[in-house]
């Protein structure tokens, strides 16, 4: 068990591309931290540098206070779970799990004891004599976990360990990983491209893009107070809606209509360099069917009417896709997000995704009267994507690890 500190860690490849730019990150002892981001954001490279599988170009990596830049992976005392599991096919489950202990020259009796313990925790006892080829995907995944935990290493590194499992199993394993980590209380760095995994598993989440850290924080903070457009769009599913908006006098002109500016927003826009053109962001759950809104709440929000494109009933609530005419929000961050999602994870351009309560009577093809909570809107600067509506305190907390 140990803390891990990344001090201006950079990865530069011989061909001149920089995969990771001066990352600063302090991971506390026993913490479960998630590196999340679209592919190519440098999260796996960062993990490999912590593991020692890739050289660190500059900066310093400290594990338990000790500089380990030049140490071989085997001397860092950390275990890793690979996306592909990387089980040794020529060894049985038991031998796979015993392998790191054998290399550590541990006495046979102790190895057997540790393997048996780990197998029990992971419910693998009856499979110890099987070869990996004869196991299901979920069992293989557990063997890979087992091989990591037998050693009681200083830290676990996990590289998208669940992405090869089917959806249902992934949810089960997610809880198991979470439980295991709490039980063992070992520092864990977990890489994923799945924001749901990031939100559900981590004590803290590190959102990365293009080799830079975008924001570090606990899942709720990332969700409620995204530092920039990228984080706002990446975290949350379905993702946040973005609309172009123009600040005029005491109004915010948007394709939905002119929104009144509340105190919070007014303060955010009061700065001298505040832009006139902004991007409005609002999450699907901050809409509601206007008929279901109580009087005292009505005042906090804004009501508008829009044609319903599609209704998806989830049982517990309804996802209603509204058609919005007008221009689209344009920013580099949003293009990145769209590229990553391949368009699938983001609302289609003319649509506004809203999550209304199940009692809503909204129908396909009809017009819907929808209420939107103005307290929850975010305004972003389209030039650099940063969140204008962030409180001072929240903004300060963004980069402090």
């Amino acid at each position: 068990m140990a803390d891990i500190v990344l001090d201006k860690v950079t990865k530069k490849y011989p061909d001149g591309t920089t995969a990771v730019h001066e990352i600063d990150l302090e991971i506390a002892d026993g913490e479960f931290i998630i590196l999340v981001g679209p592919s190519g954001c440098g999260k796996s490279t960062t993990l490999n540098m912590i593991a020692g599988l890739e050289d660190i170009s500059s900066g310093e990596l400290r594990i338990a206070g000790e500089r380990v830049n030049d140490k071989a992976p085997k001397d860092r005392d950390i275990a890793m779970v690979f996306q592909s599991y990387a089980l040794y096919p020529n060894m049985t489950v038991g031998e796979n799990m015993a392998f790191p202990l054998k290399l550590a020259k541990m006495p046979k009796a102790e190895i057997d004891k540790k393997v048996a313990e780990a197998a029990k925790v992971l419910e693998l006892t009856e499979y110890l004599n099987r070869k990996p080829a004869n196991l299901s995907g979920g069992q293989r995944q557990r063997v890979a976990m087992g091989r990591a935990i037998v050693r009681s290493p200083k830290a676990f590194l996990m590289d998208e360990p669940l992405s090869n499992l089917d959806a249902k199993l992934r949810v089960q394993m997610r809880t198991q990983v979470s439980r295991l980590q709490k039980q063992l209380n070992t520092t864990t760095v977990y890489v994923t491209h799945d924001q749901t995994e990031a939100m559900t598993l981590g004590d803290r989440v590190v959102v990365m893009r293009g080799g830079y850290i975008q924001q570090v924080g606990d899942p709720q903070t990332l969700y409620d107070n995204p530092h920039n457009l990228f984080v706002a769009g990446f975290i949350g599913s379905p993702s946040m809606n973005f609309l172009p908006a123009t600040v005029e006098e005491s109004k915010l002109r948007t394709p939905l209509g002119d929104l009144p500016l509340g105190d919070r927003v007014r303060r955010a826009l009061s700065g001298a360099d505040a832009p006139r053109q902004v991007i409005l962001g609002i999450r699907p759950e901050h809409f509601e069917d206007a008929r279901l809104i109580e009087e005292h709440q009505r005042a906090k929000g804004f009501e508008f009417t829009a044609p319903v494109d599609l209704v998806e009933s989830m049982g517990s609530d309804k996802y209603v896709y509204l058609t919005v005419e007008g221009e689209h929000a344009v920013a580099a961050d949003l293009e990145d997000l769209a590229a990553d999602a391949g368009g699938a994870d983001l609302p289609p351009q003319d649509n506004l995704v809203t999550r209304l309560s199940a009692e809503s009577r909204v129908r396909d093809g009809a017009d819907a009267r929808v209420w939107m909570n103005l307290d929850k809107i975010h305004l972003f600067d389209p030039r650099d994507g940063h969140n204008l509506t962030l409180h001072e305190g929240q903004a300060a907390g963004v980069n402090a690890a």
Binding site: K74, A86, A133
Partner: protein, 277 residues
């Protein structure tokens, strides 16, 4: 091909049988000849009317053949071991590492494989005479390794490429040094490839006639294929067909043994289960 009809099975069965017969009849014919007596040798019967071991006795009585057999086994085994060991290391480097000149190395080894061997015979003859290794084991082992290496490198690098790189990373994370990772994880998985290569290289060395006849002059290093061509009967006028057939059968046996021995180790799908398929 989920459903196989009976007629399809019969068709394939007939085709397979045809191929097997085509391949085996000459072999069986040689076996048959080797058991015939000198008198019945040319009677054209497939199954000998008179069985005899005389041909086998004859060839093992001549020093010439036994000595050639020893030469053949020794030279082929040594060449195989060296070529496979060097080939394994080279193939591992080619499939795993990025180093300057990698493409050139692969290109050159391909070039060697394509080079017509017959054009090298005269220069090799002169070189070996000057170096004093003409008509020695070494004189044959060196060219064999040269021509077997490209074959070994190509076959083995294909096998190494199949082994997921993650396994090696995993071994390193588990506390193995580079050497341990290779010995305990990669090598066992590459074993089928190594054995396949060993068989191919051994057969290449064992069957070679061109180098063996050009670079040897005495029994000291003459291999079996060459010795066979020098076979004569008991007298100059006797036809050595029976003896040659017997010798041909005998030199096929080590190959068969070699293949059978290593075939058990060639287990297909050894890497299955390592990663999500």
């Amino acid at each position: 091909m989920a459903v196989e009809t009976t007629s399809a099975k019969v068709k394939w069965g007939l085709l397979d049988a045809l191929v097997v017969v085509f391949a085996l009849i000459p072999v069986l014919w040689i076996v048959s000849l080797s058991f015939k007596t000198a008198a019945t040798l040319t009677d054209g019967n497939f199954i000998p009317r008179e069985w005899t071991w005389d041909n086998y006795k004859l060839i093992f009585q001549t020093d010439q053949f036994v000595r050639a057999l020893v030469n053949s086994i020794g030279i082929a085994l040594i060449s195989t071991v060296i070529a496979v060991v060097l080939g394994t290391m080279a193939a591992y480097a080619i499939s795993r590492l990025d180093f300057p000149g990698k493409k050139a190395l692969v290109g050159v080894s391909l070039l060697i494989a394509m080079f017509p061997q017959v054009s090298l015979v005269s220069p090799l003859f002169n070189i070996e005479r000057n170096l004093g290794i003409f008509d020695t084991w070494l004189g044959l082992i060196l060219p064999y390794i040269t021509f077997a290496l490209p074959l070994a490198i190509y076959t083995l690098s294909a096998f190494f490429k199949q082994i997921p790189w993650d396994l090696e990373k995993a071994a390193k994370m588990d506390g193995a040094t580079q050497g341990e990772a290779f010995r305990k994880v990669i090598a066992p998985l590459a074993a089928p490839g190594v054995f396949t290569t060993a068989i191919l290289v051994f057969i290449f060395c064992w069957n070679d006639f061109l180098f063996a006849i050009s670079l040897t002059s005495t029994e000291q290093s003459r291999t079996v294929p060459v010795a066979l061509s020098f076979f004569t009967g008991a007298s100059q006028f006797e036809d050595p067909t029976g003896a040659i057939s017997a010798a041909a059968v005998v030199i096929t046996i080590p190959i068969i043994l070699f293949v059978l021995f290593f075939q058990r180790r060639i287990v297909a799908g050894l890497t299955s289960g390592a990663v999500k398929g």
